[in-house]
Structure formats: C-alpha cells, structure tokens
C-alpha cells in the first residue's frame, strides 16, 4: 500500500478564487497543490479556429441545465482565460439587496466601502484600467452614440486589457494569444508557481472525505487530454485545509457528492443560484441610418458593419443603476460580442412572426451579421436556481468531447426576475430602434433556457445559517477547514460583470484563511504584496485592524 499523498492546502480550481488563494498561501509558506479539471495552455496555444478540438472548445464549457445554461471556463486560469475582462466594481446598493430572503442578503461586514480596498488590490494585480473613447472599437462607439442620441449616458468600462497589445481580433473566448487580456496566467498563477505552488491540469475533483487527523481527503479523476468524456486514473490527496473554487456550477456539486461521507451540507449548498440576471438582445443596424442619424463613418464606406471587430464589451450604460429605483428594476446594459457558434443560434429575426430563431428569416438575418450588435443585460434576479442530484462524475454529463454537457441545475425565473428583464428589453428597444437605427429582439429562453456567463451564489456567504452555506469568512458551515472563494460565494446578482467582485472577496477572505491554516498546524503567514509588488492590501488590513 502506498502512502497517501499529502499537502498543506489543496485548492480545487484555478480561476479567480483558486489562483488568488494559491498565490497568498504559497507566498506565505504553505505547501499548495491546485487541481484543475481543464487543460493548461499558453498564449501560443490559443487558436483563431472554430474547429472542434481547438482552444475555442478546449478551454470553456457550455452546460445546459433545465431552464438555465451556463458558459464558463475550463482550463488553468479558469474564467479569466475565456472572459471578456470587463471589470467594474459593483454599485453600492448591491450590498444592501434583500433579494428572495426578505432581509439583507450580504453579510453585515461587507459593504462597497469595506470592499473598496480589496478592489484596489485586484486592480493593481491584473492590472485593470479605464478604457478611453479614442480606443473604443466601433461597436462600443455605436452603442455609446445611440445612448447619447436617446438622452442617456454611456461609459467605456474598466477592463483588464492592455490595449497597446490588443489587435481587436475578438477571439477572447479562445484565449488571448497576444497576452493583451490580463488573465490569471500572467499574474497570480505565475506568482503562485514562483512560490512553489503546484498546478495539476486535467484533474477533476469528484468529492471530499475526512481524514483521521481532522483534515480532508480530496478524490480526483484524471481527465483525458483530448476527449474529456474519458476519465483515467483515480487518486487522492490529503490536505489540512481545502479551498473550493471550482466555479458556481461545480463547487456545490462537489459538496453534494461529498455529503454521504462528510455529513450533511448546509441547506444553502446548491440552492439560491443566480445567473446574475443576465439576458441578451440582438440588434441588426441599418448602416445608412447609423450614418444619417448618428453621423458615424468608418472612412471605408461603412458607418458601422463592425460586429466582428473589437474586444468583447467595451461600453456600458449605467443609467438604471440608480439606488433610488426599487429592487429588480436596476440593471446595466453592455454592448457585447459573441462569436459565431454559440452566438447566433439564439438570435431571433426581429420581424419574424414564427420560427424566428431558425429557417428562412433567420438566414436572411445572418446575411446582416456584420451589422449585428448584442446588448447584454445584467439585472437583479431572484436566486431561483437549484441543483438536482449530482451526476456520477464532474458537474455535468458531457455530450461532446469538449465544451458541451447537460447539468443538474434547474431554474425557473420568477416574476421579479422577469420584471427586470422586461424593463431592460424595453429600454434596449427604445435606445436602438429610435429613428430607425436598428431592429432588435431578445434572444429566446425557449431553446436552452436562460443563459449566463457569470454563474453566482450556489454556496453563498451570509450571516444567516438558513440561507447561506458559508460564514462571512467563506468557511463552509459545519465543516471547518473547507473554504469557498469562487463565484458561488457571492450572495446574488451584481448588476455588473462579477469577476472583480469575486476576486475582491477572495482577497478579503485570505487573511482569515491563512489564520485557519495556521490553526491547523500549517506554517504560513499573510502579507504578500500583489504579484506586481504593490502593497495596498496591507493598508486595507491596517484600516480594519
């Protein structure tokens, strides 16, 4: 019998929650192992290629549930490798939301002001900068001009993008081969590796059990490097402390599957899932009207026709992020690019009475694809999502060798959620159809349900044990030594892109996780600078001490 492999800290997942934990714990002196179910690709392996098996399908997952489909990262670096790098802070009212529980959802200790120092730290680490109008791609410019024409404001959104490196290729979902997108492969993860952390790709964690010394045993399967439907060897690693950061679509599933051995999970594990209130509208612009009404001209005979050009979302409308408005009526609108493949099937021909998403009218709509613009709504949903019994392995039944699977998440949007969506849909129509600029129609939920690229809240933090799986330090209730630092810990929808808030919360959780590790006999300290050497977190600690 071989001795069980041991480490101080085992981290599940290498996205924002996992990478930040790996860096701090390794820099503080702990022995850290990170298990990541996806592959490990460098920038020169990121393809501009739609073929099945290219990086476009290797590094993210599209999991279709019952009423909700989730698009997420599946690689070392997690969501940061496939995300669009838009990184706004959540507006202050978000932290006072009541949501579906009838009282404040967020822990009392967390407000926008309390989180600001941790936002600062992440902004320094990636880094994140304000984008400027003179570098905003055509689609963002057009959205801004349409907002202004409708008497609205619009902002170039802050982003973790080095625009000097960006070629505006719009292949962000396949990974950035120019290192313009500041993913975790360029900051926290190399810094963690430099401090001795070990990252093992293609290791899918299935469940946790306890060890006799009060720690945890992590059970994994090795995933085939090409066909993720095939699982190879099984193994275990014992750890004194576990940080779960597998993403809001997987972390609760791992805990559900662990319950028979670990003991009952808090009620909120796998409940209160939020799709961040996300919804999509697709507009088809009339190039002549864009020129006549807005005075826009690319100088090459086109006024717009720039859907393919750019770098994901660049311009956002924050006019409805008004704290005076009632809950469920606050949302942001963001111009967005989705590539073909996933990005066209749900689009509905604006004027079709029937068969709007396929058939003759849809094909006519596809002929105008360069004139498309997608508008992305992030609103306040009702945390309606519930995970059913976990699949035998992983978090979904994989259909394709990569990318596509069926998962156990069930989501039925409530009237509250629909109120926000309907208001946002009407707003988008008002802005974009004004004076004949475009024809617009929401994507349909009827095919794969609602659709989120920002799954949240399936194991949320909170003060109330009945409605939160984690305490405000991100420790799993009833299971000391297990922490959750990914999007599943965020209590609810944020009305903006959540990656920065997930990261700030992970940073905020780190001093407590380091203390817990020390209490479990791990020789580790807290206080590392950012991966780039900045020290704002020390000021944050001093302020709260």
């Amino acid at each position: 019998m071989t001795a069980a492999e041991r480490t101080d800290v085992l981290i599940v997942g290498s996205g924002f929650g996992g990478a930040i934990a790996a860096y701090h714990l390794a820099a503080g002196g702990a022995k850290v192992v990170v298990l990541e179910r996806g592959p490990w690709l460098d920038s020169d392996e990121f393809d501009h290629d739609f073929k099945l098996g290219s990086s476009y399908t290797r590094i993210f997952d599209f999991v279709v549930g019952d009423g909700m489909s989730v698009l997420g990262g599946n690689c070392v670096g997690g969501g940061s490798v496939v995300y669009f790098a838009t990184m706004p802070r959540a507006p202050g009212f978000v932290f006072d939301r009541h949501g579906s529980i009838g009282r404040r959802m967020w822990p009392a200790a967390i407000s926008r002001a309390a989180l600001d120092p941790w936002y600062d730290r992440v902004e320094e680490s990636l880094p994140i900068t304000m984008q400027t109008w003179d570098r905003v791609p055509y689609a963002g410019g057009l959205f801004g001009a349409a907002c202004a024409h409708a008497g609205r404001t619009a902002n170039p959104a802050p982003a973790a993008i080095d625009v000097d490196r960006c070629t505006n290729c719009n292949w962000m979902m396949a990974g950035c081969k120019f290192d313009a997108k500041r993913s975790l492969l360029l900051n926290y993860l190399p810094a963690a590796l430099a401090h001795g952390a070990e990252i093992r790709p293609l290791h899918e964690v299935q469940r946790l059990s306890r060890t006799d010394d009060g720690g945890y045993r992590v059970h994994y399967r090795v995933v085939d490097g090409e066909d993720y439907r095939i699982l190879h060897d099984a193994g275990t690693i014992d750890a004194k402390l576990v940080v779960l950061a597998a993403g809001a679509g997987a972390t609760p599933v791992i805990l559900q599957r662990s319950a028979p051995e670990l003991g009952a999970m808090p009620h909120a594990v796998g409940r209160y899932f939020s799709g961040n209130g996300e919804r999509l509208n697709t507009a088809v612009f009339d190039d002549d009207r864009v020129r006549e009404v807005l005075g826009l001209d690319r100088g090459d005979g086109s006024a717009y026709r720039g859907h393919q050009i750019g770098r994901g979302p660049t311009v956002a409308s924050w006019d409805r992020l008004d704290s005076a408005r009632p809950e469920y009526e606050r949302y942001s609108l963001e111009q967005l690019y989705f590539p073909p493949g996933l990005g066209t099937i749900l689009a509905q021909a604006p004027d079709a009475d029937r068969a709007a998403w396929f058939g003759v009218r849809k094909k006519e709509m596809l002929r105008s694809w360069p004139s498309w613009m997608t508008i992305f709504t992030m609103s306040e949903d009702d945390n309606e999502g519930v995970f059913g019994p976990p699949p035998e392995t992983g978090n979904a039944h994989r259909v394709s060798q990569q990318m596509l699977g069926n998962g156990p998440l069930r989501y039925r949007p409530t009237a509250n959620t629909w109120r926000g969506w309907s208001l946002a849909d009407a707003d988008v129509k008002d802005i974009l159809e004004r004076d004949g600029l475009a024809r617009v129609r929401p994507w349909t939920n009827d095919l794969v349900g609602a659709y989120t690229v920002h799954p949240l809240a399936s194991c949320r933090i909170g003060d109330d044990p009945a409605t939160s799986a984690l305490d405000d330090g991100h420790q799993l209730r009833g299971h000391p030594g297990i922490f959750v630092t990914d999007g599943s810990a965020v209590p609810g929808a944020l009305t903006v892109n959540p990656a920065l808030t997930i990261s700030a919360l992970a940073e905020r959780a780190m001093p407590g996780i380091v203390r817990a590790a020390r209490d479990r006999g791990v020789t580790v300290t807290y206080g590392a600078p950012t991966p780039e050497g900045a020290t704002s977190a020390r000021r944050a600690i001093a302020r709260t001490a």
Binding site: H48, D49, F50, K51, L52, G53, T57, V64, P88, R89, P91, G92, Y119, E123, W133, D134, P137, Y138, G141, L142, G144, A145, A148, T153, A154, N155, P158, T167, N168, C169, N170, R229, L296, R298, R305, G306, Q308, W318, L321, S332, P339, P340, G341, T344, I345, F358, G359, V360, K363, L366, R367, W369, P370, V399, S400, Q401, Q402, L404, N445, L447
Partner: protein, 182 residues
C-alpha cells in the same frame, strides 16, 4: 450511413438553415433560400463527427423524426410521397412547423431536437468540423453568408482600424475615479 438516414438528417439541417438545391431533384434540400445552407456547409459531416457526441443518436433521431412527420402529415391531411422518408416528403413550410413543434419548450423531446438544431446551425455559422482557414480556402457558404472577414495570411485576425476615435456619449455622473459605478 444509409440513404434514408442521410436524407432525413439533411432535411432537418436544411430546415434550420435552408439553402438552394444541390442538383435538380434534390429531395433533402428543399430549395427554400438562395445560396448554400446548413447541408452545403457540412452539417452531415459535423453531426457524424465523433467529437460532437451526437453521432450515436442520429439513427434513433431519424426514426423518431420520420414518425413525427408521418403523424403530423396524417393529422393535417398532407399527402406524402412514399419514395422518401416522411420528413423529407413534407413540404418546407410543414417541415418548419414540425420543427417548431418539436423544439418548443414544453415538448417532452425538446432537448434532443434542440441539440440537433444547435449542431446543424454550428456547421453553417462556424464550420466547427473544419479548421477555419480551410473553411475559407474552400469557400464555406456559412462564413461567406455571415460576411466573416478572412484572417491575415498567417491565419490570425487583426483589425488595425477599429475605432471612431472620439467620445460619443457623456459618462454617467456617478462614475468613480477608477471608472466604476459608485
């Protein structure tokens, strides 16, 4: 793959993204739209690619689709030509109506028909069965219909001209110094 199965699956793909007939007497492709559709784009090749995961189900999907088509035709007194499978024999407007019925949210088989539609669409809009450079080199009808711009000679996309270069809207008055909502 037998001819009936091929005809049935191609007729379904053609209903999702219709195209012009490949030859006189083409039965699978109804000819409902100009230019190549999902079939010409390679839907059959993508659907039978083991990487996609849908290939093992195609036989049973074709049987079920033809059963649905026969029932549909009987219920609406649509005469069917017995030379081809029932779905292939349906006039295009009826194929469309049947696919609408099968992919409706409340239909018990919704998930499998949406899956078939997803892959049919993907063959057209992204040529997921081909390297994208190869798709351009062979004149893939889907990418051409979309107006997807070809890459630079090294197979990589770059757009040096990308911006109107000027401020086009006032910022939200609550914007913080870091550029975020307050």
């Amino acid at each position: 793959m037998d001819a009936a199965l091929t005809l049935t699956i191609e007729a379904f793909a053609d209903t999702i993204i219709p195209g012009e007939k490949r030859f006189p007497g083409d039965r699978a492709v109804a000819g409902a739209a100009e230019g190549g559709g999902a079939v010409a784009a390679g839907a059959l090749r993508l659907l039978t690619d083991p990487a996609g995961g849908i290939a093992p189900a195609l036989d049973s999907l074709a049987v079920a689709l033809n059963d649905h088509a026969a029932r549909y035709a009987e219920g609406r007194a649509v005469p069917l030509d017995g030379d081809v499978p029932a779905f292939v024999a349906l006039p295009f407007a009826h194929r469309t109506a049947l696919v609408e019925e099968l992919t409706a949210w409340e239909h018990p088989e919704h998930e499998m028909w949406v899956g078939l539609a997803l892959f049919s669409n993907m063959a057209f809009d992204s040529a997921a069965h081909l390297h994208t450079e190869e798709a351009f080199a062979t004149g893939h009808p889907g990418l051409l219909t979309l107006g997807y711009t070809p890459p630079d000679p090294d197979g990589v996309w770059r757009f040096p001209q990308f911006t109107y270069g000027r401020q086009l809207a006032p910022p939200h008055p609550g914007t913080t110094v870091t550029g975020s909502p307050s």
